[in-house]
Symmetry: D3
């Protein structure tokens, strides 16, 4: 059965990364994976959380959120409900952890970089788009710090990119859109470094449990997708 947009099983949606979308943020990116649009803003703070003070080490963290009408039907605002939902918490933690995998805390010094990832429109894969875009915003914030002599050497020890994969109609597919995501038996989010190693592997059987062969096929697809995204990130940063 064909994909909704006729892509090949191992093909990404059109991905664009627009740097400098915001005027004030130290780094900012509007990233699009097909119909999914996420605004990633990096803020540099010359301090660290309380538990890290006087360690000489920096910190990187993230907050993920979705505008109420990013989706087909409207979701109530978490600010109005007075609390953050489990899904938001979970993804914020994932984004922060993923970005920390490519940062040398010592080179960062006692500074914090906070990545705000706000989903303006959602069509599947918002968390992986957020990670992929936030890496570029992070890189720009680090350049901003170097320009201002806040740091001497770059704390970036590599890059990270992320993609979703899943089994739909029995077929392993790369970068699911919302329609496929809902129909998937198994859904996996994978974060890789630019040199092809794994930072996060989160696979969930939504319907039938999956066997080792299926898992292997998904990991292969994801590794390929992340390699493509790494190239797109580098092109964006090179321009």
């Amino acid at each position: 059965m064909a994909r909704p947009d006729d892509r090949l099983a191992d093909q990404l949606r059109p991905v664009t990364i627009r740097r400098g979308w915001l005027t004030h943020a130290e780094g900012s990116v509007l990233v699009e994976f097909g119909g999914t649009r996420v605004l990633c803003a990096a803020t540099v703070q010359s301090s660290v959380p309380r538990w890290r003070r006087d360690s000489g080490l920096g910190w990187v963290t993230a907050e993920y959120a979705m505008l109420p009408r990013a989706t087909t039907t409207r979701n109530d605002r978490e600010s109005v409900r007075g609390k953050i939902g489990g899904r938001t918490h979970e993804i914020s933690r994932l984004v922060g952890r993923s970005l920390r995998a490519c940062v040398d805390y010592k080179a960062l010094g006692e500074n914090t970089i906070l990545l705000d990832c706000d989903v303006l429109e959602a069509d599947g894969g918002t968390r992986t788009a957020a990670i992929t875009g936030a890496y570029v915003a992070l890189a720009d914030a680090i350049s901003w710090m170097r320009d201002r002599k806040m740091i001497k050497t770059s704390p970036l020890v590599g890059s990270v990119a992320a993609v979703s994969v899943g089994i739909v109609d029995g077929e392993p597919r790369l970068d699911l859109c919302y329609e496929e995501d809902v129909a998937a038996e198994t859904d996996m989010n994978v974060v890789c470094t630019g040199d092809g190693r794994f930072v996060e592997v989160q696979g969930t059987a939504e319907g039938q449990p999956f066997d080792r062969a299926e898992l292997d096929a998904l990991l292969d697809l994801a590794a390929g997708g992340c390699a493509d995204l790494t190239r797109i990130q580098q092109e964006a940063l090179g321009s």
Copy 2:
């Protein structure tokens, strides 16, 4: 003393209204007043709040919010702090009240239109940009309802637009940017209907109290600015 962008005292910043910015919302607009960018999304709900049930009347309401890095320095998320601040509450109420001034509840039937106004970037006048853009998103949502035969006649009984005015360096000025807003002795937000009457007048002496002559000068400026914005709204809707 000249304005930061060399505008005349009675001149608006460049204003753009892009309709259909979101795929799913029943109406959506990205509105820009110079460096201020607000995403306005209209959601149609075929129900009304509990206190209005079985009245045969509809409802229009709004929620305003700001992304954390819309501003020069980052603001904490209200969802993370677990409560909505007074300023957010106040502006949400103002936007809803302003839009209700151009709606016939009976013609709307027992439906609600909710306007989400999210500030992506802030450079002064975010509440007035939100009202001006939300009117266009509201008009689009009403067209959407008519196309689906949810309503027979248009519940729009006019249009609304809003602008800020203030006294800076002793001079009454139209459509203050952030730099002017901070420096203003008096700051006023005015909402007008398309036929030039007033819906809201909110003037505040930030520094020196203002006399009647100054108040009159500000009202004149605002009425002119709203007339310009009404024309821009009509052009956007005509296209």
Copy 3:
């Protein structure tokens, strides 16, 4: 059509200001505008908010609230609901901003005066009664500080009073009671200094938008009402 209590259109309700209603507060007033009763208590704190420390400047702020049975039907407590509503936030901010218009922060030194305005019974115009009464409590708190040599010169650079006006049955009226407030097409709250200048003008079209002539008539009425209230405040402070 006559007013519910047969007043003239430009006549205030009976206004009483009882000073020293509480034993412990540095200043306290029970203010009545007809059936509206507000208890205003001033608390002197020898510190300022964090963002103002080491500036040499003081601060004045306010909190407004309503007892649950101040109104015809009972309102749930905001403490029980776990959050403050938009209306409460909005009025608290208005009261604080209004009082700050008559204070010289430098003469106040690094001290804060906090005005608690609790509505014991509501019959329209609670926010304007709160401002009018809170000014007197503020003046008493400042005398208390001078008696204790906390400050050398008075930080009061004038006085403020507030009143509501509105258009009811097509007629502009001063100081609306609840019954008139509900029926008003346009409702405006105006805060003036003792010398007749404006601090806040907040007009809202509840029903029909209003034109410039109506706005002018309302401003005239309000200026007259505030002048009367200023005299009543001075008599209360003189006794």
Copy 4:
């Protein structure tokens, strides 16, 4: 050692009960025990909590709170802090339980009477003043219901009054003011019915534990004090 106001050990402070202090409430009382002033408002609701529906039985409940400047130093508002403190919860529950002791739920029908007890000024014994005053407001609300034929027979099966007792300087004393309350080794709140039986006995050793003889002396004092208060309540209701 003499009491601060030279009272005898078994003497109440001056107690006044002013009925009808509020215009709208179905029953309302301003009760004073010396410098302690509590506003008690009864609200009649023609419904019962969900867990009691279709039982044919009524309900009586209470909410206790303190204005921020009721005390020598200001307390933050619980609405601002976003949650109700343990002390407030505890006293609200005590007041409701005490009043329920004199009510026949069947005669009340499926109606709720809610007693709001707001402390305007505190000088010790606020919870016992609240109970004593709320009983009178409750009785007035019941008369109001009978006048409107909401109930046929009175659901009041007696009366309740409450007083604090304590051991200060080794001496058992009745109706402690704040200064004595702070100095008390043992502090006890006692709620009695009009016919002299106990509804609540809550004794706490603040300093030294107390022996049975001391407990007996305190109970004797409290029973006497409640008998006096019962007479004052009846006089108030008779007028």
Copy 5:
């Protein structure tokens, strides 16, 4: 009418106290009163609350909570509801106050001991079991401090134990199980010191008010029960 488990009116349920139930806590006890099981954990903190700093004095406090399925039907978690209920607040305060009655703050130095009392299973008398068990955990935590030379002399100036009593079917009974608790006309919780004095007496008429003779009978029963519990505590600590 016989008791559900055929006990005598003045007989405790089987009581067991298992020390050292947790590996990490400075003191820990699993206490059982029949079917009621409470896990009490003592945590030593080398600091005191802000309001007590630089006083040279220590502090003891407690938090009580119930697992959701400790009871016949499940209760929602207070963490999920986002706030602590009145009953939980009230009991936490009672447990803390009771334990403080046997502690010399000066000998404790500027340290805090926090007692967590979590009800794993509830069959009546959870608060009194919590106090009785928490005393033993407290004693163990104090031994732990002495072993580490954090304190020189023991801050324990006695012991505390607690029990519930009530009037069921007209008969005063000791240590009510849940079935009796629900049926009781009067319910009383009593906390005594090891030498037989009272720390807390909290009696409530659930149904009929009680007279002085009934109150005396309940106090006698409670004093006897606490003496038994004191012996069981000492045996547990002696082993």
Copy 6:
């Protein structure tokens, strides 16, 4: 380098599953993985969440929490902080999702089974112990339903068990204790069905990213561990 308890790299800690630990719950288990102890309680509700009503389908969900002193140093209660942390949310969702993998919603009918997993003591692997224990409590609750004829056939379509694996000192190890968990470069939680397929795979590089060979080794270890746990579950249920 040897493991802290001298286990082999592919060896589980001693695992015990005690059924029926609570009297009231429809299923309950105290599960121990070495020093980790989790109390799992199953509650049967004859209703489903609102969004699932009239579907004929049941639901299974879970709530995970930790007692404050389950850990070496005390954690504040989430009920006291007024909100649930991201980690708690994330694990609750994982436990529910894992259990749903072995349930046929149709056979369950419109009933909900809620699993409460409360960590009494934590020494690594609390979420995997929770899943493993909760499965047994779930099976007992289903037997309870069958005994009461609430369901005709068993909705259990298999079993689930979970274990943690990680790379410590460069060596892949099964079932990490806390000391190893803290030291792990990579940490993975794996949930398998009784027939050896995967339900969840959640791998995280805490330090160095991991390559495909390391990932494969961890998956092999986890599959073996889950097979062992499945056997232990079956023995527990067979007894």
